[in-house]
């Protein structure tokens, strides 16, 4: 099916059905998911699918309809439903579509090889990671290994003459295992996601880390409730990023539901903290040629040496705020309206090796696992479940589980006194190891 041509035709059709402006968003793609356990295939799921979403504007009112049936009758019906449904919404001058601002050149988003690689190789990759992880004598059970891939193409057309398409691939695999000792159970896992199959980490590396994550948490101890340093391992740095991302969402800012709403150009974090959103990184898992409305993506500084520099907008929210879209329209698939989100969102790397951060910490928590919702984007409160290692006099002393950590966002961000040099940009939402000088830790 020529989806690009169809997208263009469907925009025109919307305009003949009482819509003053319209956008058509089409996705088509293919998925494969393989799960193995104890050396055998457990499940294989494979499918191809497509769908279309219509955003229509009728006298300033906006509505949306989606369907996954591409018969003429179904498409016609969806357009009619959208136009009719628009009668229910409130007219708003901010209901506008983007102009064509071109695309950003981003290399390495599509791997044509993935679909050519035989199923057996993919099954073997998962099996090998599992086998290697199980070789460690401390590992007693496997909770399974997985391989998954997706290949898709997006088409956006709107009545301002915008017509774009982009192809993407993603593949990932990982394993999860259990270590047991007496009555104790500890689970651990590791995985890797890439745009290109050839860039996936070796199963040896995946297996070793999965096993280690499981067994090293055996024999945990409890510590007293206290204030102490908390070192966020690079695996858990995302825990403070989520709340920041939600709080710089242009819509939340306008609605006053963000703890950062009135903090633009102010120092909100320690000078060591720089946070970036980059939609243009080659092969980046969060990279795109254009955002969910067809606006080109960019690389932007959100927090510059502790100073808040940027909020994120899609076209509608930008119009309302009197600025230009930052290319941050996100799309939850063909069934939903554009929201606002980041691309590759990360804390810039620091200069201190992580070992040194641990080495200078007299008493504190090396945080390896955190649970909960992160920083509350409305009021900045943070509270989470914590696990990891207790650090005493610069050395790892013993594993800890079942602790809590809590604080207020500004205190935490300003309390960051060391940032590691170990940023891993293979993840789309990531931070290097960093230390918060003092946080409340809950225990005995």
């Amino acid at each position: 099916m020529d989806y690009k041509k169809l997208a263009d035709q469907l925009v025109k059709k919307c305009l003949t059905r009482d819509a003053d402006a319209a956008e058509v968003y089409i996705e088509s793609g293919r998925n494969l998911s393989i799960q193995v356990r104890n050396g055998e295939i457990e499940t294989i799921q494979e499918s191809a699918t497509h769908g279309v979403g219509f955003r229509v504007f009728v006298k300033g009112r906006m509505a949306f309809a989606s369907c996954n049936d591409f018969s003429d009758k179904a498409l016609e019906n969806a357009i009619e439903s959208a136009v009719k449904f628009a009668g229910n919404t409130t007219p708003d001058e901010n209901n506008v579509l983007p102009e064509n601002r071109g695309i950003t050149r981003v290399e390495g988003l599509y791997d044509p090889q993935i679909s050519q690689i035989p199923m057996e190789s993919k099954v073997d990759l998962a099996k090998k990671a599992e086998k290697l992880a199980m070789e460690d004598r401390r590992i007693t059970k496997s909770s399974g290994a997985r391989y998954a891939e997706g290949e898709g193409e997006i088409f956006i057309a709107n009545s301002n003459g915008l017509l774009k398409n982009s192809k993407m691939t993603v593949c990932s695999y990982g394993v999860s295992v259990v270590a047991e000792k007496g009555d104790q159970k500890s689970s651990g896992g590791e995985s890797c996601s890439q745009r290109f199959f050839a860039d996936l980490k070796l199963p040896e590396e995946i297996a070793e880390k999965a096993a280690k994550n499981a067994y090293e948490m055996l024999d945990p101890k409890m510590v007293k409730t206290q204030k102490a340093s908390v070192i966020f391992d690079s695996d858990v740095g995302y825990a403070i990023l989520g709340g920041i991302l939600a709080a710089i969402n242009g819509k939340s800012v306008i609605q006053g539901r963000s703890f950062l709403a009135k903090k633009m150009d102010q120092q909100i974090a320690s000078k060591l903290v720089t946070i970036i959103d980059d939609g243009t990184r080659p092969k980046g898992l969060g990279s795109k040629l254009f955002d969910g409305e067809g606006v080109p993506t960019q690389k932007r500084i959100i927090i510059d040496k502790g100073v808040l520099k940027g909020f994120m907008y899609n076209t509608t929210t930008a119009k309302r705020a009197g600025v230009k879209s930052t290319g941050n329209a996100s799309r939850g698939g063909f069934t939903s309206l554009p929201g606002i989100s980041a691309h590759n969102f990360y804390m810039e790397t620091g200069k201190t090796p992580p070992e040194e951060i641990i080495g200078v910490t007299k008493n504190g928590l090396l945080l390896k696992g955190v649970t909960g919702y992160g920083i509350n984007p409305v009021n900045g409160n943070f509270s989470g479940g914590a696990s990891g290692f207790w650090v005493k006099n610069g050395r790892i002393a013993f594993p800890v589980k079942g602790l809590t950590i809590a604080g207020a966002a500004f205190e935490m961000l300003n309390g960051i006194d060391m940032v590691g040099d170990d940023l891993d940009l293979n993840r789309s939402f990531t931070a290097p190891t960093f230390r918060i000088k003092l946080m409340q830790i809950g225990g005995e």
């Binding site: 699918t49 990982g174 309206l337 989100s341 649970t371 479940g385 950590i405 809590a406 409340q440």
Partner: protein
């Protein structure tokens, strides 16, 4: 998925590409197969009944088992949904969704093959059956029994069918809620009203000769209010959801929902820092049941037990909880959010007592785990849509009511934390470690509820918690929610007021 918990309110559903990537990415992000109970969701049918010639289903099932395998099923679905959002007193958006498709599954020993199609035609179904049968190559083949249409008892009664409700009526409940929320207190600065309804038509056919069809209406109404004071802000949330007709809004009015929400927003403006450390916790009746949903329910799902890695593996018939603790999963509660007539594999819904007076008596199963465990099918095989494989899921899960008076439970607790409501939480079903975030909580001082405290985390191990519940009230109540386990399911969770002796509370100050 790791990020999910952090974006709960803001990320619409999921990205298309990620649909397939859940597997790998889920392991990636959450080594411990963590499960998140999300607090919000966005998804995706006029009425299009699913009509299909049973002979097409027979052909599909025969094709599915052609290469080998002992079981196959076909699931057909058509979903029509409406979503309207009101914010800042404006109807900001209206979304209409039509989705249809079919999934074909083949089982051979412990192996499962699955494929789906957007188009419900004989040709496309045959293609899906062929792809799904890949895993069964060379295995012993069973011939399918021709399907025979059956009927199941219905637990969903509808007075005012959704398809007969005019859009104006939908807008009307939203306006009423908005007005009630903003009128509650001048400190309510914004209200967000989200209305969702859907009609999901399902047909399940399998190689055992089963053929069942039904139509499930669903309503989901969410009010959020922003309370603002000089020093802080609090987003309150209240939800109302049922598998029912529009009469839901006569039974619980939009005003009630809005006022409950606004009350929370205002009450929490006075919140002080929560204390940190291990303390006694009294949990008010209602949605707090999400604690047992996560902490005990997920670890009792048959898949994790069949894999022999779950924390409750090998504990059937053993004492696992205190004598006062009885826990039930009941998919037959009339019109509840977690209720259906039969599960998505066609198994009749039932009331399943999981833990009785502290003794573990049952696991929740789907067809696969029931076979693996040689246990009965409990009616817990559920799927988010035709794009997903069915897995063991909860329905309406709750702690059975006890004999204590809620006021006595509070009065006999010298100090600790009174949790009025929870946002949600997660559990590692292998180790049993869970965590929850409080939405509204108060200090308990000398047997009385006193100062409100801000959103603390509760953390612990499921085995400890169910042993440490020492008081169970007589005031059982429920709340609606969304459960995520790689795919979404609509559930209810419930409990009477209970007291748990000793949970680690993640406050931001030392205890005084």
């Amino acid at each position: 998925m790791k990020l999910k918990g952090y974006f709960v309110e803001d990320i619409p559903r999921r990205k298309f590409l990620e649909l397939s990537l859940k597997g790998g990415a889920a392991i990636a992000a959450t080594p411990s197969l963590m499960m998140q109970l999300l607090s919000c969701r966005g998804p995706s049918p006029g009425i299009a009944k699913l009509k299909i010639d049973p002979e097409i289903l027979n052909k599909t099932l025969r094709k599915a088992l052609e290469k080998g395998g002992e079981f196959a099923d076909v699931y057909l679905e058509n979903r029509i949904s409406r979503r309207i959002l009101m914010e800042e007193s404006k109807f900001k958006s209206a979304l209409f969704g039509i989705s249809q498709g079919a999934g074909v599954r083949v089982m051979s020993g412990d192996k499962t093959g699955f494929a789906y199609t957007d188009e419900i035609t004989e040709e496309k179904l045959a293609r899906a059956a062929e792809v799904a049968s890949f895993i069964a190559r060379g295995a012993k083949a069973v011939s399918p029994v021709d399907v025979q249409e059956a009927k199941k008892e219905s637990f969903i009664k509808v007075k005012l069918p959704l398809e007969k409700v005019a859009d104006e009526k939908r807008l009307d409940v939203m306006k009423r809620a908005n007005q009630a929320a903003l009128g509650y207190d001048p400190r309510i600065k914004m209200a967000s009203i989200s209305y969702y309804d859907e009609i999901r038509a399902r047909t399940v056919a399998n190689s055992e000769g089963l053929l069942l069809s039904d139509e499930l209406p669903l309503l989901f109404f969410i009010v959020q209010t922003l309370g603002v004071s000089e020093n802080t802000r609090h987003m309150g949330r209240e939800r109302l959801s049922r598998h029912s007709g529009y009469e839901m809004f006569d039974e619980v009015t939009p005003e009630e929902v809005a006022q409950t929400c606004a009350r929370e927003s205002i009450a929490m403006l006075d919140a002080k820092d929560a204390p940190a450390g291990i303390m006694d916790v009294v949990m008010q009746n209602g949605w707090g049941g999400v604690l047992v949903h996560e902490a005990v329910g997920h670890p009792l799902e048959g898949d994790i037990i069949a894999r022999e890695i779950g924390v409750f593996t090998g504990k059937l018939g053993k004492k696992v909880a205190s004598d006062v603790f009885t826990m039930v999963d009941d998919g037959t509660l009339p019109n509840f959010r977690g209720t259906t007539n039969f599960d998505d594999e066609g198994t009749q819904m039932k009331r399943n007592v999981l833990i009785k007076d502290g003794v573990l008596v049952k696991y929740m199963t789907d067809i696969l785990s029931a076979k693996q465990l040689k246990m009965e099918r409990t009616g817990n095989g559920r799927r988010e849509s035709f794009r997903y494989i069915p897995i063991p899921r909860m329905t309406n899960t709750f702690i059975e009511k006890g004999k204590d008076k809620p006021e006595d439970i509070l009065a006999s607790t010298k100090s600790g934390l009174y949790v009025q409501s929870l946002s949600g939480g997660s559990v590692n079903p292998i180790t049993g470690m869970f965590n929850f975030t409080c939405r509204e909580a108060y200090l308990i001082e000398n047997g009385k509820k006193t100062t409100p405290v801000s959103g603390a985390t509760l953390i612990g191990n499921c085995m400890d918690i169910i042993s440490n519940i020492d008081a169970v009230g007589d005031d059982l109540a429920f709340g609606p929610g969304i459960c995520g386990k790689g795919q979404m399911a609509e559930v209810s969770a419930g409990q009477p007021t209970v007291r748990i002796r000793g949970i680690n509370v993640g406050g931001s100050r030392a205890r005084r």
